[in-house]
């Protein structure tokens, strides 16, 4: 057997082109990785990390476990297409081997085996197995069609709006498997064989269609099938389907501890092109659900960035609340990528700025515990006086870093993309903290907390959010709040919850002073108050709209008091409700009296 027919040409060309382009991209990206990243890869290559990565590839790239967790139907759809197709290829390979033994068969020989194997005696097991797998894939294709027509049924309120390249690839993909079904069925009609699917359809066709039309149909069908494959392969590297291949190296690199940072690096390409544009990030976005803004979500951000058409309004309009990142099935560092896009747009290196910081020290008091209220906390004096009460009750000697106004932690500047300038502030505050010899740094502002933990170099200084600190005091018996009957509900600040992983401590503190009622969206799914400093675009009115929607959810719990642990959230939610909105420290301080 030659394993060649003219109709194979589109497939052969398409596949060759695809492999060349994908290999070219990967090699380029890998070569351009910074030296430190390359070292990480080499160090991880021959360790258990590689195995872990391989197992994750199976779980995620084939089985799509994470999507399953978010949305089982959507998970099935993706799994049937990916895992089904994969099994078809593997099974096809085995089928070829079992028919012709271990000999070299060109690629198209495996793919179009049915066409070439008509003269061989049939093996019903493979006919059955291949038909079963085809059905599995076709069920996924059917779901994909359904999702396009009626996304709500798939549990998605919105789906992605695609670009032209995606549409071509998508259309090709949609037709690949139906075309295969028709092609194999006509061959079965002419030469017999086939399982319950192709065999039965073939039988029916043989009975109803003449031989000559069938022969013509066979040629057309195999040509069409091959063309669909070829077209899909050509479009793949330029479309969202690049994710099929890119997610694999991404998983490996991630296991080797490569990370995106506030500066753009070659690793970002793997993340960006690993986005399948599934659109799962659209629904959790409050800019979409509350404000109806539907062109800035992560999927569009990554798309625009990949094609080099990222605009400032898209990059700027994001709360960076992390709700989408939490849901992303590929696990892309969406916030970090957005951050380094902003860095590219706004950062001015080596700028002479903030020279006025030199020598400034407005701190007061002395103690091993330092308290950094944060700029925003200075506008919520109740938090300040509550913290003061708590420190006093616990008998803590405290060094107040910024009671008379300090220097910003640098996070807002970093979030807006002026990363190099932000470093100047970080350096200043680091020096200040070190100079005063503190061992613990407490802050009331989750924004500051995150940057202290992630970007500051503070050896020998433990950084705590005041919720963690208060809980410690309670557990150590240094604070004894009285348990009351007030029912509280708790709003997770983004930077504290998703940002720093602190969910339990504030809850434990609230439960120490009263009853806690959870709102509908809570913990990892908690809503953003809307006033995030990361969003550089939305107006005051839009912030208020989001705040109102959040407040409504909090009110719906029936709690008398809304508690949060971030000055910005407190201010924001307070605008949307008549109920009292208080900081965690306030309820603790009140319960001490």
């Amino acid at each position: 057997m030659t394993f060649y027919a003219p109709f194979c040409l589109p497939f052969i060309l398409g596949a060759a082109l695809m492999f060349i382009i994908v290999a070219w991209k990967w090699i380029l990206w890998l070569l351009r990785l910074p030296r430190s990243d390359k070292r990480l890869i080499l160090r991880g290559l021959f360790t258990h990390r590689t195995l872990g990565a391989a197992w994750e590839v199976v779980r995620e790239s084939l089985l799509h476990r994470r999507i399953f967790r978010v949305n089982p139907l959507l998970g099935y759809m993706h799994m049937s297409l990916a895992f089904g197709w994969f099994l078809l290829i593997v099974m096809g390979w085995i089928e070829t081997i079992s028919y012709v033994g271990f000999r070299w068969v060109p690629l198209q020989g495996h793919v179009f085996f049915k066409y070439f194997a008509t003269s061989l005696p049939h093996k019903p097991f493979f006919d059955f197995a291949m038909d079963l797998l085809l059905l599995f894939v076709l069920s996924g294709v059917a779901l994909a069609w359904g999702k396009r027509l009626y996304s709500r049924a798939m549990g998605m309120r919105r789906t992605t709006k695609h670009v032209l390249g995606d549409r071509i690839a998508l259309s090709a993909l949609w037709f690949i498997f139906p075309a295969r079904l028709v092609a194999e069925s006509t061959t079965c009609a002419l030469y017999g064989g086939g399982g319950f699917l192709t065999g039965s359809i073939g039988g029916w066709m043989g009975a109803h269609i003449g031989v000559l039309p069938l022969m013509n149909l066979e040629t057309v069908a195999w040509w069409f099938y091959s063309s669909c494959l070829g077209l899909f392969f050509v479009a793949l590297p330029f479309s969202r389907y690049m994710h099929i291949f890119t997610e694999i190296p991404l998983i490996f690199l991630r296991h080797y501890r490569l990370r995106s940072t506030e500066k753009h690096s070659s690793y970002d390409h793997f993340q960006i092109e690993a986005c399948s544009r599934c659109g799962i990030c659209i629904d959790p976005c409050q800019l979409q659900s509350v404000l109806g803004i539907n062109d800035v979500q992560s999927v569009y951000f990554l798309r625009d960035r990949r094609y080099g058409m990222l605009t400032r309004p898209v990059a700027d309009n994001c709360l960076m609340c992390g709700r989408c990142e939490e849901k992303c099935p590929v696990g892309i560092d969406l916030n970090t990528l957005r951050l380094n896009s902003r860095d590219r747009m706004r950062n001015v290196p080596d700028e002479r700025r903030y020279t006025y910081l030199r020598g400034v020290d407005r701190s007061s008091g002395e103690g091993k515990v330092g308290y950094f209220a944060g700029c925003m906390t200075l506008l919520t004096p109740r938090t300040l006086s509550a913290m003061s009460t708590i420190f006093e009750a616990a008998g803590e000697e405290v060094w107040w870093a910024d009671r008379e106004g300090g220097v910003c932690c640098g996070r807002p500047l970093k979030l807006s993309g002026e990363t190099d300038s932000a470093r100047k502030m970080m350096r200043y505050n680091t020096e200040l903290f070190r100079k005063h010899g503190i061992t613990t740094l407490v802050t009331s502002c989750p924004i500051c907390l995150k940057v202290f933990r992630e970007d500051y170099d503070l050896p020998g200084i433990e950084v705590l959010h005041h919720s963690e600190y208060i809980l410690r005091l309670i557990r150590a018996g240094r604070l004894s709040p009285t348990h009351g009957t007030t029912r509280y509900t708790y709003h997770d600040p983004c930077e504290l919850g998703r940002g720093s992983g602190i969910y339990d401590e504030p809850r434990a503190v609230i439960e120490a002073v009263g009853e806690l009622l959870e709102p509908a969206s809570t913990r990892e799914n908690a809503l953003c108050c809307g006033s995030s400093v990361a969003n550089l675009a939305i107006s005051d009115g839009q912030q208020l709209q989001i705040a109102r929607s959040v407040a409504a959810e909090m009110e719906a719990t029936g709690a008398e008091v809304i508690v949060t642990a971030c000055p910005l959230c407190k201010k924001a939610i307070g605008r949307g409700t008549r109920r009292p909105v208080v900081d965690l420290s306030e309820i603790v301080a009140a319960s001490l009296k």
Partner: protein, 111 residues
């Protein structure tokens, strides 16, 4: 021509000359941020300012100068801002003050 040093220079006129000032940049800024027009000039932003606490940065004055077409030195002035966002929390007109700082810096980078 080699300029002679007389020991003094011609003092810049203090008047804001709206006949001479080119308001194109200012108009572009207002076009992108129309809400800036609603400023009452109450100065709460400046009073609350983290940078203003440490230096002479005056956001109200600076953005007002921009609106009058006085661009010289504005970039350096706006660069004193730490973008902490406190001012946005107190603005009675709800102006996105941080966006104003970034927009002005973007538009007036070459002044």
């Amino acid at each position: 021509m080699a300029a002679i040093n007389f020991g003094y220079t011609i003092s810049k006129p203090r008047a804001i000359d709206l006949d001479r000032n080119n308001l194109r940049k200012s108009d572009e800024i207002l076009h992108e941020m129309p809400e800036l027009q609603t400023c009452i000039g109450c100065g709460a932003c400046t009073a609350v300012c983290t940078a203003g606490n440490l230096t002479d940065f005056n956001f109200r004055r600076t953005h007002t100068l921009v609106r009058r077409g006085e661009y010289e030195g504005i970039y350096a002035e706006m660069n004193k801002c730490m973008l902490c966002g406190k001012c946005r929390l107190v603005c009675p007109r709800g102006i996105n003050t941080r966006a104003v700082v970034m927009l002005v810096k973007r538009k007036l980078g070459d002044f």
